[in-house]
């Protein structure tokens, strides 16, 4: 056991999986020698060499496209996008090939790759470095998406992603890269992809969140302790394939749903979650399913960014509203 930050946990997972499986390769812009601008891949090149850990040209389509080719031909590439905003430069490869190669070849070729990138806002960055872009990819068949919120989950999910025979996009909430530590086993363990986690049980309302929002919801729950509001908090962890069952079972118990995400509202992933809840737990609802999200605006620059990301006070306010909803 060791205390690790989210970032260190991912780094540890990469070391672990690369030692175990010689076909795992890691690359991206500045990801080789320097270990990535956030140092997530730090130390890997020194141990595994330049063939397996390398810097690429500034070439997102090149990075993703060649990762696909590598995966088809026997490697397990863990390719990096330096920031989530940059993935749009390679979006053709993501949208049109990464999730399709297997279907196109009727199963002859699969793409066991991981595409990892720092994700989400809250670091007061320049434009284009603070986006929560999971919805863009969730709409593409054939691609899995995970977003860990704790160091423990990060290590386990990265191991799972690397071992998954399907392509996995691994979003790393950069806001909490180093914001806290957690006990993480140094031996291999898997956190299964496709399984949400009930962070704490409750029976008045189900709140679903992921990434850096999970912590904010926990803060909100603390604020509401004095009102004795019992909240069941679910960390989604995997966006695709979504763990519908866990969420639906929870709402059947509580009768109320609030989804919190920092991504833009329209067609944000909350719309998918609430629809599935309505489809499966219509008769159990005691209040309309609700969502607290970023607005339908461009993520503001640092001075205004705090408006866009739901904070604990707002979250607590929404929870209270729902719990007090009278039919």
């Amino acid at each position: 056991m060791a205390e690790m930050t989210l970032l260190q946990a991912i780094n540890a997972a990469l070391f672990e999986q690369m030692r175990k499986d010689k076909t795992v390769v890691v690359f991206g812009e500045d990801a080789g020698f320097e270990g990535g601008v956030f140092r997530v891949t730090k130390g890997l090149q020194a141990e595994f060499g330049e063939d397996r850990v390398f810097d690429t040209p500034i070439s997102e389509a090149g990075i993703i496209g060649s990762a696909i080719g590598m995966a088809v031909n026997g490697l397990k590439p863990v390719a990096e996008m330096q920031f989530e905003g940059f993935m749009f430069n390679g979006f053709n490869q993501i949208a049109v090939h990464m999730g399709r190669m297997r279907n196109r070849s009727r199963g002859k070729y699969s793409v066991p790759m991981v595409l990892r990138m720092p994700w989400g806002g809250g670091i007061r960055a320049l434009e284009h470095h603070s986006e929560a872009v999971e919805s863009f990819i969730a709409h593409i068949p054939g691609i899995k998406i995970v977003i860990p919120s704790t160091p423990y989950d990060a290590k386990g999910l990265m191991a799972a992603a690397i071992q998954d025979p399907d392509p996995v996009v691994f979003f790393e909430p950069k806001k909490i890269y180093r914001a806290f530590k957690q006990e993480v086993p140094e031996t291999e363990y898997i956190v299964p992809i496709g399984k949400a986690k009930i962070v704490q049980p409750g029976d008045q309302i189900t709140v679903v969140a992921w990434g850096s929002m999970v912590r904010d919801v926990q803060s909100a729950i603390k604020i509401l302790e004095k009102d004795s509001i019992s909240v069941e908090l679910i960390d989604l962890r995997t966006i695709v394939p979504m763990d519908t069952e866990t969420i639906v079972n929870s709402v059947k118990k509580t009768g109320r749903l609030l989804v919190v995400h920092e991504a833009v509202r329209t067609v944000g992933f909350a719309s998918e979650i609430t629809t599935r809840v309505i489809e499966n737990a219509f008769l159990n609802l005691e209040a309309p399913p609700a969502r607290l999200t970023g607005f339908d605006i461009t993520v503001p620059l640092p001075r205004g960014e705090h408006h866009q990301m739901p904070d604990p006070k707002r979250i607590a306010h929404e929870i209270k509203k729902l719990v007090n909803y009278k039919v």
């Binding site: 205390e3 270990g35 990535g36 601008v37 956030f38 140092r39 730090k42 920031f83 670091i123 007061r124 960055a125 320049l126 470095h129 603070s130 704790t150 423990y152 989950d153 950069k174 806001k175 909490i176 890269y177 180093r178 914001a179 806290f180 530590k181 957690q182 006990e183 986690k197 009930i198 962070v199 704490q200 049980p201 029976d203 069941e232 866990t246 079972n249 929870s250 059947k252 118990k253 009768g255 219509f282 008769l283 159990n284 609802l285 005691e286 309309p288 640092p302 001075r303 009278k326 039919v327």
Partner: protein
């Protein structure tokens, strides 16, 4: 005030040890002058000053451990106030000079905070203690509108789902039956030639009376007992008392005395103050006497009642009666006044009628008709013929539960009170 923070000097170093300070508080420094030597895993680094100024405060001692982001030293810049200002909001960092643990843009929060270890919660079983209903939003709203607790309604749908019809049924059971379902006999009127007759629609009040009368006559088994009371003493008493009442602004009527006497009699014969529950075979004795006074209005007869008449004095009864009469005329009688009466007085004596067969006001079981007081020769106890004031009284009782003897006994008691009004004093509580 410039806060010189320990930066990630390369290769993701995030902590170090202060090896040696090269300056002290008060020293003037130039941009670039080495301030401190910091020992890290990789290198011993000389950290040069980023600004020109005067050393204001050293953040750490030699030998201290520092983390990236810690303020090593405070440097007062030219023209600076000595008090430290709040650090400016960390804006987008320029490339090359890493002020924070990497990232090239933005500021990553760095902290040693340790959160609790991960636990994988198993599926929390659906709590059965929490009784929740299965129902569509529409059904829930319906229940709420009816003021019903949906979790208490038995659902007839799949898995105990509460359907709309379940809610409607529950609602019907909750409300008392307002109108008695009286099977009004289908009587066909002969058709009157239109030009020989004039049709006038009846008022709502009249319609109500039609309903009430029909109801009463079809349910109750009425029988009327009649008697004449010698009220000569009562007449004299009223004569004596009416002036003082008038001085108090109260019109003292015979009805006031009669009402009081009735309440006294009803105390002794509560059966006439009851209701009858046919379905459950129960007589409902009431703990209160709400005396109804039939009042004639231009639109028709209404019967407001005086609540707890037995607790009121004759003067108070007189006031109430007067008030009711006025309100009835002005049509300001409240609904509540018309409801929940227990016994009714109909005073047709004012019009000159002596005897009648008044109709019981359902769900009461008795009604008394007071005729006009008139002078009549009678044979007194001594056997002489004298002129007396006579009050004709007609009592209709519901023979389902009140027999003639009971009615008679009530009348007798009443007669005793009204023939000897002074004697009422002995019974006053």
């Amino acid at each position: 005030m410039y806060e010189f923070k320990f930066a990630d000097i390369g290769e993701g170093i995030h902590e170090g040890t202060i090896l040696k300070w090269l300056v002290k508080v008060g020293d003037k420094v130039q941009d670039g002058k080495p301030l401190v030597v910091v020992e890290t895993d990789k290198v011993n680094a000389d950290l040069p000053s980023p600004v020109a100024g005067t050393i204001s405060k050293l953040g750490f001692k030699e030998g201290d451990n520092v983390h990236v982001g810690d303020v090593l030293v405070y440097i007062a810049e030219e023209g600076d106030k000595i008090e430290a200002k709040a650090a400016p909001v960390a804006m987008a960092v320029s490339e090359g000079k890493e002020d924070n643990p990497a990232g090239v843009v933005g500021t990553i929060e760095v902290s040693d905070e340790v959160i609790s270890a991960s636990t994988e919660m198993g599926e929390t079983a659906a709590s059965t203690s929490n009784q929740k209903a299965l129902a569509s939003p529409v059904a829930r709203k319906m229940a709420a509108d009816f003021g019903l607790d949906i979790t208490k309604i038995k659902g007839s749908g799949d898995n105990g789902r509460v359907m709309k019809e379940d809610i409607i049924k529950a609602n019907e059971r909750k409300q008392p039956v307002v109108s008695v379902a009286v099977p009004t006999p289908k009587v066909t009127l002969p058709s009157f030639a239109a030009d020989t007759v004039t049709r006038i629609k009846i008022s709502k009040l009249r319609k109500t009376i039609v309903q009430a009368m029909t109801t009463s006559q079809s349910i109750v088994a009425p029988t009327t007992l009649m008697d004449e009371f010698d009220v000569t003493s009562l007449v004299a008493m009223r004569e004596a008392q009416k002036e003082s009442a008038k001085a108090a602004g109260i019109k003292l009527t015979y009805l006031s005395y009669i009402a009081k006497a009735i309440t006294l009699a009803l105390r002794d014969y509560p059966l006439l103050n009851s209701s009858f529950d046919h379905d459950n075979d129960e007589i409902i004795f009431k703990n209160y006497i709400n005396l109804g006074i039939a009042v004639d209005t231009p639109d028709g007869l209404i019967v407001p009642n005086i609540k707890d008449a037995d607790a009121k004095s004759i003067l108070e009864l007189a006031q109430e009666i007067d008030k009711l009469a006025t309100q009835a005329r002005e049509r300001t009688i409240k609904l509540e006044t018309l409801q929940n009466g227990t016994f009714t007085i109909t005073n047709y004596g004012a019009i000159g009628t002596k005897f009648g067969t008044p109709v019981i006001k359902y769900p009461e079981v008795a009604i008394i008709g007071i005729g006009s007081i008139y002078k009549k020769p009678i044979v007194n106890e001594q056997g002489a013929i004298v002129v007396a004031d006579i009050l004709p009284v007609s009592l209709t009782i519901d023979h389902r539960i009140i027999d003639g003897a009971d009615g008679g006994r009530f009348l007798l008691k009443l007669k005793q009170h009204l023939s000897n009004p002074a004697g009422m004093l002995l019974h006053l509580k």
